[in-house]
């Protein structure tokens, strides 16, 4: 029977990994992911999880070791943040190209420089183009659920792509929340054992990772492109089944009180919860503001996003990272790309907020809603504002 407990989110994530019965964990510690891997080490040391826990000597080796393990046919997991994600980035492009269904938790943290251990989305944004499927958790329950969902999707024979579950470092990883922890029987019903489609086996030799001559590279990339686009169907299916079994349904884009709202906020991650409270405050004052929360970041849910923002006149997109291209943040760019072909497009203003743990308050969200309305009315051009910065 599932148990609802007060538990630190990192520990809940490790419990999910344990329930998934992984075979190999290869990880390097980095704040704020440490509690996840420490708890996994404990679970292995005490015999609660039968897995090889490999304390690798760097994140680059962590992802490399995961590639070897996954290619050998084992269910494989790792976790990282920020600088660690950056260090393994080379290999993060390779894992999806080799179709290795590795699951990784990224405890979102800002990228140096300056060096910072605090939470924002720059590490998530850095790995946008690697080809990993990416989901974003808003709270501890989601962190737990999305972990199980990740294994289910990654290892599906129609997908065979690695999956990242993003969760905000410290603000999620280190807080205690009431989370329903499923039991083993329930998880086994949802998550079948991993059946590799191709593995390293002397009985059936294959050569994985050959040289992609110009004659084949484009086709290889097209195959990968089609694979990640096609994964959406399986992602939705797996969420439907999760809901049918456990009563919690997830969608690629969630909306909150968007009915009749001409002004929308767009957020990702744990700040969505603050935004929801802000929406309640604004609605109570008679302002028709709604919230759109993105849960599936890769592949980007164009269809669901367009449906969610239909009818809006202005959208304030909150980014927690800077592109440093002169136009603000990356999420706003994706949103604009999603809307470009639409005959009716809302006005968009990008708010960069919450960099490296800077608090984003209910007042800030009200500021964003008011701000985008004023900017739209004035026809303001210039793309973005970094809020809460001391001039």
């Amino acid at each position: 029977m599932a148990k609802r407990v007060g538990i630190e989110v990192s520990i809940a994530v490790s419990e999910a990994v344990k329930l998934a019965n992984v075979d190999v964990v290869a990880a390097y510690p980095i704040t704020p992911q440490t509690h996840i891997v420490e708890h996994l080490a404990e679970l292995v040391a005490d015999g609660h999880l039968d897995a090889e826990f490999i304390p690798v000597e760097s994140e680059h080796s962590a992802m490399s070791t995961c590639c070897g393990s996954s290619a050998a046919g084992a269910r494989t997991y790792t976790a990282t943040s920020s600088q660690g994600q950056a260090l393994m980035l080379e290999i993060c492009y390779i894992a999806p190209a080799l179709r290795l269904p590795i699951v990784m938790t990224v405890a979102n943290r800002s990228l140096s420089g300056p060096i910072s251990i605090w939470n924002d989305h720059s590490d998530m944004m850095m790995s946008r183009d690697t080809g990993w499927i990416q989901t974003v958790a808003e709270n501890g329950q989601e962190a737990f659920d999305l972990t199980l969902h990740a294994f289910r999707v990654a290892e599906d024979s129609r997908v065979l792509l690695p999956v990242i579950i993003n969760l905000d470092g410290f603000t999620l990883t280190h807080v205690i929340e009431p989370i329903e922890i499923l039991d083993q029987k329930e998880v086994d019903r949802y998550l079948p054992p991993y059946q590799p489609q191709m593995r390293l086996d002397p009985e059936d030799p294959v050569s994985i990772g050959p040289v992609g001559m110009p004659e084949v590279y484009t086709e290889a990339k097209k195959a990968q492109d089609e694979a990640i686009k096609g994964s959406k169907e399986v992602i939705l299916e797996a969420w439907q089944e999760f809901g049918d079994l456990f009563g919690r349904y997830y969608k690629p884009v969630e909306t909150y009180r968007t009915d009749g709202a001409e002004t929308l906020l767009v957020t990702m991650g744990s700040l969505s919860e603050t935004a929801m409270t802000a929406v309640d405050h604004m609605r109570a004052k008679g302002k028709d503001v709604g919230l759109v929360r993105i849960r599936l970041f890769r592949p980007f849910p164009f269809e669901e996003f367009l449906a969610a923002v239909e009818g809006a006149k202005q959208i304030a997109v909150m980014d927690r990272a800077l592109c440093l291209n002169g136009a603000g943040g990356p999420l706003a760019i994706e949103v604009k790309a999603a809307l470009y072909d639409e005959p009716e497009r809302p006005y968009i203003w990008n708010y960069v907020a919450g960099l490296a743990g800077r608090d984003v308050t209910i007042e800030n969200f009200v500021e964003m809603a008011d701000g985008v309305e004023a900017a739209a009315a004035d026809g303001l051009r210039g793309h973005y504002t970094i809020i809460n910065v001391r001039e």
Binding site: S58, G73, P205
Partner: protein
């Protein structure tokens, strides 16, 4: 960690009349004419047989054996990147360990082999190698040392011998070529306290094959440093790969030895050592060396060899 000596108790040697017949590496690969590295690799693979999973770093051997759609590998093979052969192999080994223990696959005593060049071992790959050796994974690591980054155009590595010319250590008015002495990778491997370390050369194929086999029998990490002559990069005649592989041993520049459970053991005592010039004169990469340079090198080669003899518990020669 188990003792190599115990694992090798019942070891049956290959002999010139009893060579392994397997060819896990197929012909039709794209190595240069006369490539000593692919020859060494072939010999190692013959010794290991078909029950092996190969993890390769980026490098000559990876490029020439896996140009899509052709693969020269008749055994399972995985290539991920340049600096991580040891880390990837660690993952394969651990996966098998877990899957066997959890009853999902049978234990067929498969050998896990990581191969990389001198670049992928001593330079960009040294971190991953050190980690894998320290963690004690049960695998064989073979460094195919052709003494430069040959695949990218003959640039120097820390394994390039002193005085050798490469494209990033070219000899000139202000430089002798490579200005540092070759990094001692077998000693670095041995310093990790692993059960088996050995050096080999494809000219001494029975010795090399026996060492490869022993490396696979030992439980825990085994490191094999294999001298790999490269006519293309060293600018010697295409038919000279084996001869250079012989001379490098006969001149004491690259001695053949093992380190078993931390004890050094000389494989082949060089009875009448040849002067280093015999080895240099075959290769244009040493052509610019002056008599003074050669004397400097000869002195150090002699000294290093005597030091090795001491480690092996043999009295140095006069």
């Amino acid at each position: 960690m188990s003792r190599a000596a115990d694992d090798l108790k019942d070891f049956q040697r290959f002999t010139p009349k009893k060579l392994p017949v397997e060819e896990p590496l197929a012909p039709g690969h794209r190595a240069c004419q006369g490539c000593g590295e692919v020859l060494a690799l072939r010999q190692v693979m013959k010794a290991l047989g078909n029950n092996v999973i190969v993890v390769s770093a980026t490098g000559c051997m990876e490029i020439i054996s896996s140009a899509y759609p052709q693969s020269a590998w008749r055994v399972p093979w995985l290539h991920v990147a340049f600096e991580n052969a040891a880390a990837v192999a660690s993952g394969v080994e651990a996966a098998y360990k877990a899957m066997i223990r959890k009853g999902r696959i049978e234990d067929k005593n498969t050998t896990f082999l990581a191969i990389a060049g001198d670049g992928g071992t001593a330079d960009i790959g040294i971190q991953a190698l050190s980690g894998a050796l320290e963690r004690g994974h049960n695998f064989v690591y073979v460094c195919l040392d052709n003494e430069a980054y040959m695949n990218t155009g003959i640039q120097r590595s820390s394994s390039t011998p002193y005085g050798a010319g490469t494209t990033t250590s070219p000899p000139g008015k202000k430089s002798i070529g490579q200005q540092t002495w070759k990094k001692n990778m077998p000693a670095i491997a041995a310093a990790h306290d692993i059960p088996y370390v050995a050096t080999g050369s494809p000219a001494y194929y029975v010795d090399l094959m026996n060492k490869a086999k022993k490396a696979s029998l030992v439980k825990g990490p085994a490191y094999l440093h294999v001298f790999s002559p490269c006519p293309t990069g060293w600018r010697c005649a295409v038919e000279d790969a084996v001869q250079t592989g012989r001379l490098v041993v006969q001149t004491k520049i690259f001695p053949l030895y093992e380190v078993i459970d931390g004890k050094y053991r000389l494989s082949r005592k060089v009875k009448k050592p040849k002067p280093v010039t015999e080895y240099f004169k075959l290769q244009r990469r040493f052509r610019h060396l002056t008599e003074e340079d050669v004397a400097f090198i000869q002195e150090r080669v002699d000294r290093e060899y005597d030091r090795l003899l001491e480690l092996c518990g043999i009295a140095p020669e006069e």
